[in-house]
């Protein structure tokens, strides 16, 4: 039987082989390459990108906020709407309001600190109302939360020691997933066993072509998907 790809509007497929990101659910993204992950996910949506972030050095030339000319490589910067908050309380309120609004492409929230379990549940309820893709970026160590997924994104050195400026290698690890078990293809013959849960993906992004591919972990000898042109 041929594999049928279903593109449901309720989820975002970053690339073939990666578990899709559900809409209307909180997805936590951490690690040093989280901004790129958020930008790639946002590029797959339509409508405004509402980005709530702490107002550190707001208005100064080198503030820590997202840098639109850099993000241009991934998405149209005209879609960006930044909401700058000055306190943890404001951040929580603004994220909740943005999540609850409908018709927003993606809500990206950056918090001052880890949300409490109650707050995280409130986010989840608001996200269900709004139904937009909801990403929470965190720099702090993760805590128990009501999030559906938690990704840790790391950038990796180029595999064979050669400089590859156009392509970037990331290791995306799924640390938490409430959407179901993901079976690694070709292993265990379809039987469910704890070891068949796939949790790590090595992803190559080509800045020139904008393509995103899964690749085998360096040194494993397995090739999961062609690296592409």
């Amino acid at each position: 039987m041929l594999p049928v790809t279903q593109i449901a509007s309720s989820q975002i497929i970053l690339t073939q082989g990666l578990p899709p990101l559900p809409k209307g659910r909180i997805v936590e993204v951490g690690g040093q390459a989280m901004t790129a992950f958020a930008a790639l996910a946002a590029a797959k949506t339509k409508g405004p990108i509402v980005w709530i972030l702490p107002k550190e050095g707001y208005g100064e030339p080198f503030s820590t906020g997202p840098y639109a000319p850099g993000l241009k490589a991934f998405l149209n910067p005209d879609r960006l709407v930044f909401v700058w908050t000055v306190s943890a309380q404001e951040t929580l309120w603004a994220i909740e309001e943005a999540l609850r609004a409908t018709g927003i492409g993606v809500v990206i929230g950056e918090l001052y600190g880890p949300p409490s379990l109650t707050q995280s549940r409130r986010f989840q309820l608001a996200a269900e109302q709004g139904g937009s893709l909801s990403l929470l970026l965190f720099k702090h160590p993760p805590r128990t939360s009501a999030a559906t997924m938690r990704w840790i994104c790391k950038s990796m050195p180029p595999p064979n020691g050669k400089a590859s400026w156009d392509s970037t290698l990331w290791r995306w690890s799924l640390k938490k997933n409430k959407t179901g078990t993901i079976i690694k293809k070709g292993e265990g013959g379809g039987l469910l066993s704890p070891s068949s849960h796939k949790k790590d993906w090595w992803v190559v992004h080509n800045a020139k072509t904008g393509s995103l591919h899964l690749v085998a972990a360096p040194g494993s000898g397995l090739l999961e998907a062609p690296p592409g042109p």
Binding site: G47, P48, P66, A68, P69, G70, A73, D78, F82, A94
Partner: protein, 464 residues
């Protein structure tokens, strides 16, 4: 006073002293400077002139309720039935002239039995005050030169005609055949033989609604219900004129004489009472009603033309609608300056090439300049890099307590400073390097280009 006209700066109005030296209106400024090298000039400000005329228009209500503005320099009063209050037309005109002189204006005043005749007399005679008795306008104005007829004057002068009376004396049918019927109409208007009505300028209408209560109210649900009704009436007024509110003020009069005033801003012109009410709801919750509220009033302080938009099923359209609502809600609590959309500034310096445009002002979509090299997704404040080995860039370095080892580097990309800017932070020239570290991160290093050959390295961001 100078103004640009026909591709040259020309004299627009002159003081009496300047007129005495032989300068005249419409003369190019360069010629005038040749005649009078130390001529003092000032550029004409049409906006403030128009504002002044509007102010005078309002002031003139003391003379007549029926007033209009004509062109950029004339004020018309229909004084039918008003002049007897001043004891006749002449004393009234003198009173007006004196009052205007008191303000410091030099004016030309004319009273005539028709609008056209009064305008002609005021604009083309030299006297400060012209009184034309009823039915005598042709005789009084006939001696005026042909310039009063506008652009046809040159052709008429070639026929040997000199005054308005000369033109009026010729057979009308022949003249109309040769110069067009427009000329005859213009002549009639100028001489006042054909009367044109004075159509008064419409006064700006305030958009406001109020409601008084027989007994003071204090419950939040009651106040909300009252506000809903008042806003409904406000929005009906706005809808009638095709306007939409941008800033709405609510004032609540308390039973003990106090007043609470709250304002909400809207991200785009709005006629929907529910949307405005939703912005007020969180503010109302915080109002202390005290002994109760007995009167409320809403005013649309700022309003704009409202364009009805067709709702389309496209996600983009609906998205922008919903975004407007969200921006309004967030902005009314956080402040509208905190909700921004990035837009390019046209500068080529990293960090100075983006400005944050307030989302409430609905910035235009823009064309972003293409970037030649990959840029970081986030800029960080420059962090000093301490080199641990030689090289350009250093093979090993410490940055914020982390030691990085470089496997590959690419650069330099030199970005010259903007020395013409006032901001000193924009002046220096930097070299930018992309470096690949052993642990996977790609850093964006900045190197100060220093004439002494001394290099200072900074990390300013992380490349994707």
């Amino acid at each position: 006073m100078v103004a640009e006209e026909k591709n040259a700066l020309r004299l627009f109005s002159l003081t009496e002293g300047a007129l005495a030296t032989g300068l005249h209106q419409g003369m190019p400024l360069t010629d005038a400077k040749g005649v009078l090298p130390d001529l003092l000039t000032q550029v004409r400000e049409e906006r403030s002139e128009a504002d002044l005329l509007i102010t005078l228009h309002r002031w003139a209500e003391r003379y007549s309720p029926w007033r209009a503005m004509e062109g950029h320099d004339a004020l018309l009063l229909d004084i039918t039935g008003c002049s007897h209050l001043w004891g006749g037309e002449a004393p009234m005109a003198e009173d007006i002239a004196q009052a205007l002189e008191g303000f410091g204006f030099r004016t030309h005043l004319a009273v005539a039995d028709s609008k056209g005749a009064a305008l002609t007399a005021a604009r083309f005679t030299d006297e400060a005050l012209t009184l034309i008795p009823p039915g005598r306008s042709t005789q009084v104005l006939g001696a005026l030169p042909l310039t009063a007829l506008g652009d046809k004057a040159y052709d008429l002068r070639r026929l040997g005609l000199k005054t308005l009376a000369d033109v009026a004396a010729l057979p009308r049918a022949e003249m109309a055949k040769r110069f067009g019927y427009d000329l005859m109409l213009r002549l009639d208007e100028t001489l006042g033989t054909r009367s044109t009505p004075v159509s008064p300028t419409k006064a700006a209408r305030p958009y406001a609604a109020r409601m008084s209560f027989p007994d003071p109210i204090g419950l939040l649900s009651d106040v909300t219900m009252g506000l809903e009704k008042v806003l409904g009436s406000l929005c009906r007024q706005l809808r009638e004129d095709g306007r939409g509110a941008r800033l709405v003020e609510l004032s609540l009069n308390h039973a003990d004489g106090e007043e609470t005033v709250r304002q909400v801003g809207l991200a785009e012109p709005c006629q929907n009472p529910n949307l405005i009410l939703r912005q007020f709801t969180p503010l109302l919750e915080k109002v202390d009603a005290g002994f109760g509220i007995d009167r409320m009033r809403v005013i649309a302080i700022t309003h704009e033309g409202y364009t009805e938009r067709q709702l389309s099923s496209e996600t983009e359209q609906v998205g922008s609608d919903k975004l407007t609502e969200l921006v309004g809600r967030l902005g009314n609590r956080l402040g509208f300056d905190r909700i921004a959309m990035p837009r390019p500034t046209g500068s080529h310096l990293p960090g100075f090439d983006v400005r944050q445009a307030e989302a409430v002002s609905r910035p235009e979509t823009s064309s972003w300049p293409p970037s030649s090299a990959p840029l970081p997704l986030r800029l960080t404040p420059p962090r000093p890099v301490e080199p641990l080995s030689a090289g350009r860039p250093p093979g090993r370095f410490r940055c914020q307590d982390t030691v990085h080892e470089i496997t590959h580097a690419r650069g330099p990309r030199r970005v010259a400073g903007e020395w013409w800017q006032n901001d000193r932070a924009r002046h220096p020239t930097y070299d930018y390097w992309d470096v690949q570290t052993r642990d996977g991160a790609r850093l964006w290093l900045r190197c100060d280009v220093n004439p002494q050959g001394e290099r200072r390295w900074m990390a300013t961001g992380e490349l994707p």
